[in-house]
Every structure is written in structure tokens, then in C-alpha cells.
């Protein structure tokens, strides 16, 4: 995995954030996190991560809303995003019901760490195939 990357974790569950931060650091990545979804865009603009791991099912602003805002915000719209979710299928619609671009990958909780590692590597190398 790219040793100089910075990965941002957005999840309202403290356990998930702690776990993913520890795991990503063990993979040699720098890490930042945001538990309040409504602050995710501001944090992404400030931290400029190479990749965002984004929980979908969050109170307040959902992960899909965060994703939509990311794709519409100058400065962070090109950052690859991996959805992390306990839910199954998610619908990706933007304003006016136009389809948003697919995320780099979708990883279900509880995590398959081998699959997560592969998805993170591919997203960082720009080889993602969409979720």
C-alpha cells in the first residue's frame, strides 16, 4: 500500500473509527477521521486526503448526501471514495435524479480485511472498477 497516503474515515461509530484508524496505520497510511457527517466536507477540504472511507448509514447527513456534496465541491470532488456500510444496496441519485458516479468500491461491515486492503490499494492506485 502507498506509504505516504492519507486516508480519511467518516463514520459516526467510534469503534469503527478506532478500528479503521489502527488498521490503516498498520498498513503504513496516515489517517484522519470525522464522526460528524455534517462536518465531513470541511474536514476533507482541510485534510486533503488521498482516499475517503465513508459510512453510508449515519444520523443527520447520510453518507449518500456527504458523497453527493463531495462530488459537487471544488477541491475534493476528485478524491476517491469507498463506501463502508452495513446495509445492502444504496441508490445513487444526484440533484434532478441524475446518477452520481459510482464509488471506488463498496465494503460491507463487518469487514473482510483482505477485501478492504485490496479495495484501498486499487483506489489509491486509480485502478478502481466501481462498486
Amino acid at each position: 500500500m502507498n506509504q505516504r497516503c492519507k486516508i480519511m474515515v467518516v463514520d459516526d461509530q467510534p469503534d469503527t473509527v478506532t478500528f479503521l484508524k489502527a488498521w490503516l496505520e498498520d498498513q503504513g497510511c496516515a489517517c484522519c477521521s470525522e464522526q460528524d457527517s455534517s462536518s465531513a466536507i470541511a474536514t476533507a477540504l482541510r485534510e486533503k486526503p488521498s482516499l475517503i472511507l465513508l459510512d453510508i448509514n449515519m444520523p443527520g447527513m447520510s453518507g449518500i448526501e456527504v458523497y453527493r456534496a463531495l462530488r459537487e465541491t471544488e477541491g475534493v470532488r476528485a478524491i476517491p471514495v469507498i463506501f463502508i456500510t452495513g446495509a445492502g444496496q444504496v441508490q445513487l441519485f444526484g440533484h434532478g435524479c441524475s446518477l452520481l458516479p459510482e464509488p471506488a468500491a463498496r465494503i460491507e461491515k463487518p469487514f473482510d480485511l483482505a477485501a478492504l486492503k485490496e479495495a484501498v490499494s486499487e483506489a489509491l492506485n486509480g485502478n478502481s472498477h466501481g462498486g
Partner: protein, 248 residues
């Protein structure tokens, strides 16, 4: 036809149960995720001789084991039509037992539990009251977790006799539950909302109150936090809320 449930009622009940199963599954995934995270921290901490990581992992495992216990208890409350077995209960003893049962998990989260109670006795189901209080205390502790200042990281339980009611108030200074979660938990049928299992906890607490002929309300506090107010009719009189309680 006599004895048959109207089709609309049956459909509504099935829909509610399907949503309940979905919510429980989601909550279970959260517990499994927490256990997986705790084990990862524990194992990687042990192999790297990182005592802090080992400690963090063990705490995460304990918290999620406690969540699994609460989840099972709430599933049983939801799934079974449980008869209310009334007996005379000592208010101070019920408060003390519930607080002590919840204190270890709260302490691991860095949350302080405070309790104050009047003296008195009331008639209610012992297991139901303990489940009600533990649900509200655990939920409040969870909502207060991660708050920066010390005052926000405390949960307060106040119990008082207000004949014919026994009133329990559980307040915290953390993040209040969002409207969608509360509407789903306090509506006529359970509708899960949001990511966590908070709605299920509130719903189970409400079922205990209503099984006793009581009520559960939630008030948002300013500048932060919320207060759960549970009322149980302890003096044998039922129906209607005490007039001097502000509406939530």
C-alpha cells in the same frame, strides 16, 4: 370474519416486524464490527507489545459484549407478549441496582453516572423496571460518549414519587437523538431510522412503560443533551399523564 385480524392491521404488523428484523440485523452488524475491531486491537497490540492498544481492544470487546446482552434483552421484550408481574418495589433499591448494573460499562466509556431518588415504594414488574432503567441509562451513556467536556460526559438519573406516578428522569449532556429516530421509536409501530440501534432501545423502554399503563417522553435540552421521562403508575391508578410534567 369474527376472530380474524383485518388485512390492513396484519399488513401493518408484518411491515413493522420486517423493519424490526432489519433494525436488529443492523444492530448485530454493529456489535460484530465492534468485536472485530476490539479483537484486532487486542491481537495487534499483543504482537506489538503495545499495552495501550491491548487495553483499548479489551475495552471495546467488553462494551460490545454488553451491547449484545442489551440487544438480546430488547429483542426478547419486543418479541414476547410478556405479562406484567407486579410486586411491591422499593424505589431506592431499584434505582441503586440499575445504576450499579450500568456503571461498569459507563465507566469504560468515561461516563459518570449520578443518581438521586426519593424514598417510596411502588407496584411494578421488577425485571421490566430494571430493563427500562438500564436501557435509558445505557442509551444516555452512549449519546454522551465522546463529548469533550466533563459535564457533558455525565448521565443523571432522578427518581421521585408523584402519586399516583413514579417518575424516572434520565438526562445526559451529549448528542440528542435525531427526530427521525425518535419518531420511529415512539410512533404506534416501530420504524427504525438511522445507523444505530438507539431507536430500538427507546422503543423497548416505551413498551415497558406502556405495558404498565405508563408513558415515555423525550425532551431536548438546551444547549445540549436530552431527558428521557418515564412514568409508571405505581399507586394502582392508571391513564393520563401528571399535569405538572412539561410536554416533550
Amino acid at each position: 370474519m369474527a376472530g380474524q385480524e383485518p388485512r390492513e392491521d396484519l399488513a401493518g404488523r408484518l411491515e413493522s416486524q420486517a423493519e424490526f428484523v432489519g433494525s436488529v440485523t443492523h444492530a448485530l452488524k454493529g456489535v460484530l464490527n465492534g468485536l472485530q475491531g476490539g479483537l484486532y486491537l487486542l491481537e495487534s497490540g499483543m504482537s506489538g507489545n503495545d499495552a495501550r492498544r491491548v487495553e483499548g481492544g479489551a475495552a471495546m470487546i467488553k462494551q460490545n459484549a454488553a451491547r449484545a446482552r442489551s440487544l438480546v434483552s430488547n429483542i426478547l421484550y419486543y418479541a414476547r407478549e410478556r405479562q406484567v408481574l407486579r410486586e411491591n418495589l422499593v424505589l431506592r433499591e431499584m434505582v441503586s441496582r440499575s445504576v450499579e448494573a450500568c456503571r461498569p460499562a459507563a465507566m469504560e466509556r468515561g461516563i459518570g453516572l449520578e443518581a438521586s431518588t426519593e424514598d417510596g415504594t411502588f407496584s411494578a414488574d421488577r425485571a421490566g423496571v430494571q430493563a427500562l432503567l438500564c436501557n435509558l441509562l445505557e442509551l444516555a451513556a452512549e449519546q454522551a460518549t465522546g463529548e469533550a467536556n466533563r459535564e457533558s460526559r455525565s448521565v443523571r438519573l432522578r427518581a421521585r414519587m408523584e402519586p399516583p406516578w413514579v417518575i424516572f428522569e434520565v438526562a445526559h449532556g451529549g448528542t440528542a437523538l435525531d427526530r427521525e429516530t425518535l419518531a420511529g421509536a415512539l410512533g404506534p409501530t416501530f420504524k427504525p431510522a438511522g445507523a444505530d440501534r438507539a431507536g430500538l432501545w427507546v422503543h423497548a423502554a416505551r413498551r415497558v412503560c406502556e405495558a404498565h399503563g405508563g408513558f415515555l417522553r423525550v425532551e431536548t435540552l438546551v444547549p445540549a443533551g436530552e431527558r428521557f421521562i418515564a412514568g409508571l403508575p405505581g399507586g394502582g391508578l392508571q391513564g393520563g399523564e401528571p399535569k405538572n410534567l412539561s410536554s416533550g
